[in-house]
């Protein structure tokens, strides 16, 4: 198996988060009553004409900037002709040989993946299959809803430079982060607002030319993308190893069975008969259009990761965890801005807070404890008011019912005791009450000493009900044991 290399190219379709559709003023919304967001244009009624949504061009230009695309002086729409009932005009308005973005790239975990192009196009409607368990091939008939028809899409086509399922997932993860950061798409694979098709082929390790590629469709999560690619690679290697050929085709990922199935290809070959869409005029991005589109372009995920690692001196792993959850890094930055020490803030964010977010499904922006509250908590630990253990309890309470850490500390009298006299007498009491342990400590080897010291420290802390300043307590204990 190891003598083959996997070659993957990904085609990502993402729905743009506009108010209206690509060519008409119907709402672009998910989950509306069927066929309520339709008009002559998106139903393809005779005589209707498309008019381009300016926001879509703006979003395309943003994407162009974010993924380092070249943006040619002119871009035009074509018609892609084929019959399908979910396509009201029986052609799709898309871009062909003059797309709006060409030759971009995305850096993914140390590798630069080339992106051939990104173009604007319209989405199709949705079909519901009735009978036969809802599967298209066994259905009795189908029902079509055109609410999604004409929703704006960007199709982003990578070069075949991805070499593993893992890298494919990393590419999609990073692309999602970019699309979300620049605010042009909801990127929800499960709702279909982001769809990924994979062109997969394998070739012997020493060969230059590509093997026959198979297009795999219908993966609706990152997990199924990885599984589908792994399955397909194994299937192709199996074929080649047994002397068979890989057939160029489109295959459908079947989630339940965990395999790809050939899409029953009819004798009818597809011939899209592309030609320039005569109902639309060219898009010629001007400097002004670009400036407007990119004026509010936020910091991109990669730049943000580099900056945080650098400014806060935190590990790559921490950065990755912090930025994997949308909004968490922003939360942390606000906490730092409010005076929290960066490393401590990151620890809380990637630890207890992340656990809480996972448990509750909340977004960081909706946390009951505001970022400056976290900064307050961090400060309470830093100035010795709270031990880390107590701080955890305080945090839980702040999350359970919106409260500020200082408020909890006050209400429960949790402030840490750092009075040297009080702590010293407690230590004296503990040593007096445990003479055998003290003797054993003094006579023992390193291992025994450590054990005994730990026991005595625990007793002292217990006596302080956990509120003793641990550093101080520890120093006082050592002073007495060594004297």
């Amino acid at each position: 198996m190891s003598e083959y290399e996997t070659v993957i190219g990904l085609e990502v379709h993402c729905e743009l988060a506009t108010a209206t559709k690509l060519f008409c003023g119907c709402r672009n919304e998910f989950g509306a009553e069927p066929n309520t967001n339709t008009c002559p244009v998106c139903l393809g009624l005779p005589g209707s004409l498309p008019v381009l949504n300016e926001r879509v061009v703006e979003y395309a230009l943003r994407l162009g900037e974010a993924l380092q695309f070249d943006m040619p002086p002119q871009s035009i729409f074509h018609r892609k002709n084929y019959f399908y009932p979910d396509m009201p005009k029986d052609y799709q308005v898309s871009q062909y040989d003059e797309p709006i973005c060409v030759n971009g790239a995305l850096d993914v975990a140390g590798a630069r993946i080339g992106i051939e192009r990104a173009h604007m196009e319209e989405d199709t409607g949705k079909s519901l299959h009735v009978g036969g368990g809802g599967r298209i091939h066994d259905a009795d008939h189908s029902l079509v809803d055109y609410n999604r028809a004409g929703v704006p899409l960007m199709e982003i086509v990578s070069r075949p430079e991805i070499r593993s399922a893992e890298q494919a997932r990393a590419y999609v993860t990073e692309l999602r982060a970019v699309l979300e950061t620049i605010g042009i798409s909801d990127v929800k694979m499960e709702e279909g607002s982001m769809r990924v098709d994979a062109n997969v082929s394998v070739r012997p390790k020493d060969r230059e030319e590509f093997g026959t590629k198979v297009e795999v469709k219908n993966m609706n999560s990152l997990r199924s993308l990885g599984r589908a690619i792994d399955y397909e690679v194994e299937r192709q290697i199996g074929l080649l190893d047994s002397g068979e050929r890989v057939v160029q085709e489109t295959r459908h990922w079947n989630e339940e069975d965990g395999r790809t199935d050939g899409m029953r290809s009819k004798e009818e070959a597809f011939d899209y008969r592309y030609f320039p869409e005569p109902d639309l005029v060219p898009v010629r991005p001007t400097d002004e259009m670009r400036a407007v589109a990119c004026a509010s372009l936020p910091e991109l995920p990669a730049a943000k990761r580099a900056r945080l690692a650098n400014e806060w001196g935190i590990s790559e792993q921490d950065v990755r965890v912090l930025t994997a959850v949308s909004g968490l890094a922003d939360y942390a930055e606000q906490a730092v801005a409010a005076g929290g020490a960066a490393k401590d803030v990151v620890n809380w964010c990637t630890g207890d807070l992340l656990g809480y977010l996972n448990e509750t499904g909340l977004a960081p922006g909706a946390l009951p404890l505001a970022p400056d509250g976290l900064a307050e908590l961090v400060a309470l630990v830093a100035d010795g008011t709270l031990s880390r253990g107590l701080a955890k309890d305080v945090l839980s309470e702040c999350l359970a019912e919106p409260k500020r850490p200082k408020q909890v500390v006050e209400e429960r009298g949790l402030a840490q005791v750092s009075d040297e006299g009080e702590l010293g007498s407690v230590v004296d009491e503990i040593l007096a009450a445990n003479p055998d342990e003290v003797t054993a400590y003094r006579a023992g080897d390193d291992k025994a000493r450590k054990k005994k010291r730990g026991f005595l420290m625990g007793e002292a802390m217990k006596a302080m009900k956990g509120k003793g300043n641990p550093q101080l307590l520890s120093r006082l204990l050592d002073e007495r044991l060594e004297s």
Binding site: P34, V130, H141, D145, V281
Partner: protein, 100 residues
């Protein structure tokens, strides 16, 4: 220039264009399309080296509309024109293949 259009070509094109044709129609079309294409071959024979294509007679560019919602149609009016409808949707016979 391409060879003269054959009966098989006409059948293939009819499949692409989704038009059911009778044998008689295919026979007629084979001859007629051949004659029209012979006439059209005049343009294929012209020397157009270095001549850019004109897809459109207009010099316009960047015609856009604002991203603001306009009222959609009444669904009953829309579905009222459909040959078959069910559950607020357009009803069609079974679909044999996935979308390409």
């Amino acid at each position: 220039m391409a060879d003269r259009i054959t009966r098989a070509d006409v059948q293939h094109v009819a499949t692409l264009a989704r038009v059911a044709l009778t044998d008689d129609e295919i026979d007629h079309l084979t001859g007629e399309l051949g004659a029209i294409l012979d006439h059209a071959a005049q343009v294929s024979a012209l020397d157009t080296d270095g001549v850019p294509p004109t897809a459109h007679p207009l010099p316009l560019a960047n015609v856009v509309r604002a991203d603001t919602v306009r009222p959609s149609l009444d669904r009953d009016e829309v579905l009222g024109e459909a040959p078959a409808a069910e559950a607020g949707r357009f009803r069609v016979p079974r679909i044999l293949g996935e979308a390409p």
